[in-house]
């Protein structure tokens, strides 16, 4: 007979909270850097030189067509043989930024393509330079229209960070594994971790939808 016992897992709540904390930190840092990277790459892809466009396209395709876990292993296990040694946390952040950067490039690009050309002409007639036009005129409405998709992608990356436990970054899934290796309550520990991820995903969605209009694409 199946007897589920959540008590021994819940007793480890300080460890779970700490793991959740690292998951939040990893997500927050990589969301800020990843979205920024995506915006820059999307601008290069839309308005940059032919050379820049090509590099961005290659980067986006390479990342979007390989699994996150392989990117993570490549950075954590592969790069040291080139002399780049990284801590698990730093490797996780880099992998998440690189991953989110590629996806958000595509998302932002869709927003830029949808902005009417008249906006550029109007801004030019006000003698704004290229950078000002992007920052003040074109990007805000573009970001506004793609923000829900961006929030979805940030949450996907947040959920993907569960894999970072595999290179011993001590985030939530790592802690869940640690707990069940101590008390053998594997199903219960995983269940609680999954529930925490679900709650976090809902919370992050609400938070980002609130933050977007206030800080990301202010008018």
């Amino acid at each position: 007979m199946i007897a589920l016992d959540f008590a021994p897992v819940l007793a480890e709540w300080p460890a779970l909270a700490k793991g959740l904390g690292l998951t939040v930190v990893l997500t927050a840092v990589s969301a800020v850097l990843g979205v920024s990277l995506g915006i820059v790459c999307a601008c290069v892809r839309a308005y940059g030189s032919q050379f820049g466009k090509m590099w961005v396209a290659a980067y986006v395709e390479l990342i979007r067509n390989t699994p996150f876990i392989v990117q993570l292993f490549f950075i954590f296990f592969g790069l040291p043989s080139l002399g780049v040694k990284l801590s698990p946390e730093l490797a996780s952040v880099i992998a998440m930024v690189v991953n989110l950067g590629a996806y958000s490039t595509e998302i932002v690009r869709a927003g830029l393509e949808a902005t009417p050309k008249g906006m550029w002409d109007a801004a030019k007639s006000l003698a704004l330079n290229k950078r000002q036009i992007l920052r003040l005129v074109v990007l805000p409405p573009a970001l506004k229209s793609i923000w829900p998709a961006m929030v979805g992608q940030i949450i996907i990356v947040m959920l993907g960070s569960a894999v970072c436990g595999q290179i011993s970054a001590q985030e939530l899934s790592y802690v869940a594994n640690l707990i069940h290796s101590r008390n053998f309550r594997a199903f219960e520990a995983t269940m609680i971790a999954a529930a925490m991820y679900l709650a976090l995903a809902m919370l992050v969605r609400q938070l980002l939808m609130w933050l977007g209009p206030r800080y990301v694409y202010k008018h």
């Binding site: 979007r64 199903f187 999954a194």
Partner: protein
């Protein structure tokens, strides 16, 4: 100590890639069939069934695939079934695919104008007939590009089956790394192989999307 040439590494990875392909196809096809069933419940007239599918989708889209794999692996064991990593991975990925495909297809069905349902009803078609004869053929056209695009997601998802010990491309990469101590080369090869698998599918999906856009 056995020396591994680049070709040895590549050949062994290529052999393991079979399992990535098989697992992807199984999860995608079974997920599609199961997802279709969920879709009918989701757009049907029973509110409780609609809500149940909504929750199902939210749970699978709101938790990491890795946790889902662990839950399938440990959960089936808890039920007293002595399951292999292969069976649990196939189960978890099937459920995962079904949740995403249901959600994708629901969007496509909702894109079909409401008048089409009403027209079907006015011809005294039953709910199933309306779906089969009127709505599905129209929704199918818009559903193909995102569905093919999701296949890429499934292929990448199978990489996580390595964590519960199923030997596919990523796990083979880990094992070969442990034998050769050449992580840079091995993981580069792994990435190249995934790319070779996923890029044509992405490219095909994008082509379909463009064609669809041009038609409208």
């Amino acid at each position: 100590m056995v020396d591994f040439s680049l070709w040895d590494i590549f050949r062994n990875l290529l052999l393991a890639m079979r399992w990535t392909v098989v697992l992807s196809l199984i999860a995608f096809i079974r997920g599609g069939v199961f997802g279709l069933g969920l879709l009918v419940l989701r757009i049907g007239k029973y509110t409780w069934a609609q809500n149940a599918v909504k929750i199902y989708v939210q749970v699978f889209q709101g938790t990491p695939l890795l946790m889902q794999l662990f839950l399938a692996y440990f959960g089936l064991a808890l039920l007293g079934l002595n399951v292999s990593a292969w069976a649990s991975a196939a189960l978890a990925l099937t459920l995962y695919s079904s949740a995403f495909l249901t959600e994708i297809w629901r969007g496509c069905i909702e894109a079909v104008p409401k008048g089409q349902w009403e027209a079907g009803k006015s011809l005294a078609l039953t709910f199933v007939q309306q779906l089969r004869l009127v709505i599905f053929p129209q929704a199918l056209k818009i559903a193909v590009p995102p569905t093919v695009g999701f296949l890429v997601q499934v292929i990448k998802g199978t990489a996580l089956a390595s964590v519960i010990g199923f030997i596919e491309l990523t796990k083979a990469g880990q094992m070969i790394t442990n034998a050769t101590f050449q992580p840079f080369t091995v993981y580069s090869c792994v990435a190249v192989l995934y790319f070779a698998l996923c890029y044509p599918v992405s490219y095909f999906a994008r082509g379909l999307e463009r064609k669809l856009k041009a038609e409208h």
